[in-house]
């Protein structure tokens, strides 16, 4: 069978003030009809540039195809030289013969047009349908992507739809003209895990039903394992390795591929292991071997959270009075021992972040107690709270936003020390040097600005800042979520090393079940502000009892092409709103202990 796409020695350059910059070079691959080709790579690998080049959309971002051939087999059987086609011809191809899905469902739809208008304009343009015919087809499309109440959706605006539904609309748009090729550029990266599972299953079904080829761009090896027929691994604008999905996962040839695969935690691989283990890193085997067997500490409680509740007012009315409340954190209790990690997992909006912030009193909890080292944080006055914060520090998700772009790293790491008057002068200098060493940042980085560092280095700096005041507790809010997988592994290993050496306790807030499985001692699963299940990591992962925990685990893609989970349509129970009227009296959280320390919320 003839290939639908053939890319041969593609080279794309971007014009900048400092001369042209190469986006990708020497990229060659083919896609056969009905095949899913996954292009995988970390940020900056050129995978998106490659996909945009296929539709020549790259030129809108200032890029030019300077070399190579791009041929596309059109619906009528003729081949089209994409690099030389007129913009008129490209207009006929785009959206008609090639469909595309983008990463951000929140911004991929035009906010001021109705769903119907956005679905029909392509149809009327390419297929010459009348408004009525196009509307009818739009309704069919929404049905085919399994959107509930499709008639109503047509008249709605994008902001009225949830993220998952929006991505379904985007897919419907891409599928509208029944393209031969669907390009999906990180289509699930911004989505929660259950919604990701639904979308992946949807793409699989549509591909099967329509016999179209899919070019799937992602950074997530687990998703690759679930979706791909063949895989192209990219790094720094070049292709590293190409092969079938089994070849790549089971017998990678290149070191880069191997390293990449090694760094990916696989859900389930910790089965039967009691303690957390460091991530595998190629070239880091020595360090791993050096890992001392986990010291069995005498459990000593550091943090005790009792009935923590945080509600945000929803203001309304003429007098801006509170008319409703968001029950962000509802009657949450747990303990965290010295030197251990408690992971709070759950999907966006479940209250895990609010819980972490409430403990630090970065937001004021509504009620409940937070005891750290014998002090009730909630009862402290402003002055004492400032002091108490030396014991508990936070590491944030976005390493770009959590460091002030206008201050040198030295000043930012030194700031907490100065605030608490812990050191000054040469002592301060020495302490900062020590911290940089501790997080393995070169000392010359001390005088740099955050933008001069990579994401991983920034996160190390943020950890150094958190360590500056010798805290006992670190709340890590999605601290590694924004990092590339290999960098993520390094940072996780650093955190575990610090835990062992310093006896730190982590409250590890994350949506990534595979990572949590690897590093946590205890796991709490949050849903609608409550902990629905909490217990030792092994108990929760191996023997999930609460239905939500079960569905969450079933939705996690596994980085193993032999364990495919998303062949058929999936429909998880959508998360309901945590907003309640003022009069709402939530029930107390009561738990059943099904095993020692393994608690499940009573329905």
């Amino acid at each position: 069978m003839k290939d639908i796409v053939s890319v041969d020695h593609l080279r794309v350059e971007f014009a900048t003030g400092d001369g042209p910059v190469v986006g990708v070079q020497d990229v060659s691959f083919t896609i056969a009809p009905g095949e899913t080709l996954c292009v995988v790579g970390e940020s900056g690998s050129g995978k998106s540039v490659t996909s945009l080049s296929l539709m020549r959309l790259v030129e809108f971002g200032g890029g030019t195809i300077t070399q190579g051939a791009l041929t596309f087999m059109r619906a009528d059987g003729t081949t089209l030289d994409v690099t030389a086609a007129s913009s008129q011809v490209m207009g006929q191809v785009r959206g008609n013969e090639i469909g595309m899905i983008f990463q951000e469902p929140m911004t991929a739809l035009n906010p001021v047009f109705t769903i119907e208008r956005q679905l029909t304009d392509g149809l009327m343009l390419h297929k010459g349908l009348t408004q009525e015919a196009a509307s009818a087809r739009a309704l069919d499309l929404l049905k085919s992507v399994r959107i509930p109440e499709p008639e109503r959706r047509l008249r709605q605006y994008p902001h009225e739809l949830s993220g998952g539904m929006r991505q379904r609309v985007v897919i419907a748009m891409a599928m509208a003209c029944e393209p031969k090729l669907l390009i999906a550029d990180e289509p699930t990266t911004a989505l929660d895990v259950t919604i990701q599972a639904e979308i992946l299953a949807l793409i699989n079904r549509l591909k099967r039903e329509n016999g179209m080829a899919v070019l799937f761009i992602t950074h997530d090896m687990a998703v690759v394992a679930q979706m791909a027929d063949r895989v192209v691994v990219m790094y720094h604008g070049r292709i590293v390795e190409t092969g079938t999905v089994e070849q790549i996962f089971e017998n990678p040839q290149e070191n880069y591929t191997k390293a990449l695969l090694a760094a990916v935690p696989k859900l389930g691989e910790m089965k039967g292991k009691a303690a957390p283990e460091r991530m595998r890193l190629i070239g880091d085997e020595a360090a791993r071997a050096a890992q001392t067997a986990p010291k069995s500490r005498k459990p000593e409680v550091l943090l005790q959270v009792k009935n923590l509740t945080t509600r945000f007012p929803v203001k309304g009315g003429i007098l801006r009075r509170t008319v409703a409340q968001v029950h962000a954190v509802e009657d949450v209790s747990f303990t965290l021992n010295v030197g251990e990690t408690l992971a709070l997992v759950g999907e966006s909006g479940c209250g895990k972040s609010s819980c972490g912030r409430s403990i630090l009193r970065l937001i004021e909890p509504t009620s409940g107690e937070v005891w750290i080292g014998g002090r009730d944080i909630g009862a402290l006055n402003h002055h004492d709270l400032r002091r108490a914060r030396a014991d508990m520090q936070m590491v944030f998700q976005d390493p770009f936003a959590s460091l002030n772009p206008y201050r040198r790293l030295k000043a930012q790491v030194a700031e907490p020390i100065q605030n608490f008057g812990l050191a000054s002068g040469t002592d301060l200098e020495a302490r900062v040097v020590q911290l940089f060493d501790r997080v393995r940042l070169p000392r010359e980085f001390m005088t740099r600005f955050p933008h001069e560092l990579s994401g991983g280095q920034r996160q190390r700096a943020a950890i150094a800042r958190a360590l500056a005041v010798n805290p006992k507790l670190i709340v890590a809010d999605e601290a590694v979520s924004a990092l590339d997988v290999s960098v993520q592994a390094q940072v996780l290993n650093l955190m575990m090393e610090l835990q062992e050496d310093l006896g730190l306790s982590y409250l590890f807030i994350s949506h990534d079940m595979a990572v949590v499985e690897r590093i946590a001692h205890h796991v709490g699963v949050m849903y609608l502000g409550r902990i629905v299940e909490i217990g030792p990591r092994a108990a929760v992962f191996d023997n999930p009892q609460h239905p939500y925990t079960q569905s969450l685990l079933s939705a996690v893609p596994i980085a193993d092409p032999r364990k495919r989970r998303f062949a058929d349509d999936l429909a998880f129970k959508p998360i309901t709103s945590p907003i309640f009227p003022l009069s709402y009296q939530p029930a107390k959280s009561t738990y059943t202990e099904i095993a020692p320390g393994h608690l499940v919320l009573n329905a």
Binding site: D18, L362, R386, E415
Partner: protein, 271 residues
């Protein structure tokens, strides 16, 4: 793209350096009387070899006037803008950083001031304080303050929600220090951009005020005063407006081009 910006910035810097040069060297080279010396044989003379930029209604040489007026105009504009920043910065910063009740009260106040025609504000200030350069600066500075406060508030509001501010708070940094170390540097670029735009308006505002008797007092020269004086002779002596107008235009152009570059210079990310 970067090169384009750099050239633009270079042009801006060269323009501003030239203007600064004129402002500094002008009064050294040209006798101060040159701006006020009258030649009754050559009233409203069009540009020629004897008077390169022409003369005004009293036969004063416009080239000398525009050169000697540079310093006055820039002094007024820069001082007024600096004043509006000095007043507007704490207002906007406090309002945006703390939010809530403080924000509500301060912004109501700013809204109230914004609703008034600037002319009335200026007139009142002139009436109460009397017409001279200092009071002109005060009038323009006060009139600009609410605009600046509004913009700074918006920026402060944005920055106050950044994780690094939260990080600083959890690291025990006091509010005052957070505003000083973290919020201020991050809103500065926006303030500078707004400041450069305001400078242009301030130069023109002086023109508007001089017909109320505020502003530079004749026979001294300032661009604003010259533009205002051109009002009744625009149709027969357009150069009387074009000469100072061009001076303002070049300054504004230079400031804008420079403002873009300055923002980049201040931003460590662009280094």
């Amino acid at each position: 793209m970067k090169r384009f910006k750099t050239t633009k910035g270079m042009i801006g810097i060269i323009l501003l350096l030239l203007i600064a040069l004129v402002a500094i060297v002008g009064p050294m080279v040209i006798p101060p009387d040159a701006a006020t010396a009258m030649d009754m044989r050559a009233r409203r003379a069009p540009p020629s070899l004897t008077h390169i930029f022409g003369t005004d209604q009293l036969g004063r040489d416009l080239m000398y006037r525009v050169i000697l007026g540079t310093r006055t105009s820039l002094e007024i504009a820069v001082s007024a803008v600096v004043m509006s920043i000095v007043l507007g910065l704490p207002l906007g910063l406090i309002s945006g950083y703390f939010g809530g009740f403080v924000d509500n009260v301060l912004m109501r106040l700013v809204d109230t001031l914004l609703a008034f025609p600037a002319l009335l504000l200026a007139l009142t200030i002139s009436a109460v304080l009397g017409p001279n350069i200092q009071n002109t600066i005060i009038a323009i500075g006060v009139a600009f303050t609410p605009y600046l406060a509004r913009i700074i508030r918006g920026e402060a509001l944005r920055v106050a929600q950044m994780p690094y501010v939260e990080a600083a708070r959890s690291a025990g940094t006091t509010d005052l220090m957070i505003m000083w170390r973290h919020v201020l540097p991050n809103i500065l670029p926006a303030v500078i951009v707004q400041g450069t735009i305001s400078l242009a308006f301030a130069i023109l505002a002086e023109a508007g005020l001089s017909f109320l008797g505020l502003g530079t007092q004749p026979p001294a020269a300032s661009w604003g005063l010259m533009i205002q004086a051109s009002r009744d002779q625009l149709d027969i002596a357009p150069w009387t407006a074009l000469v100072p107008g061009l001076a303002v235009a070049l300054t504004v152009l230079g400031l804008n081009m420079f403002g873009d570059v300055l923002r980049d210079i201040l931003d460590p990310r662009s280094k």
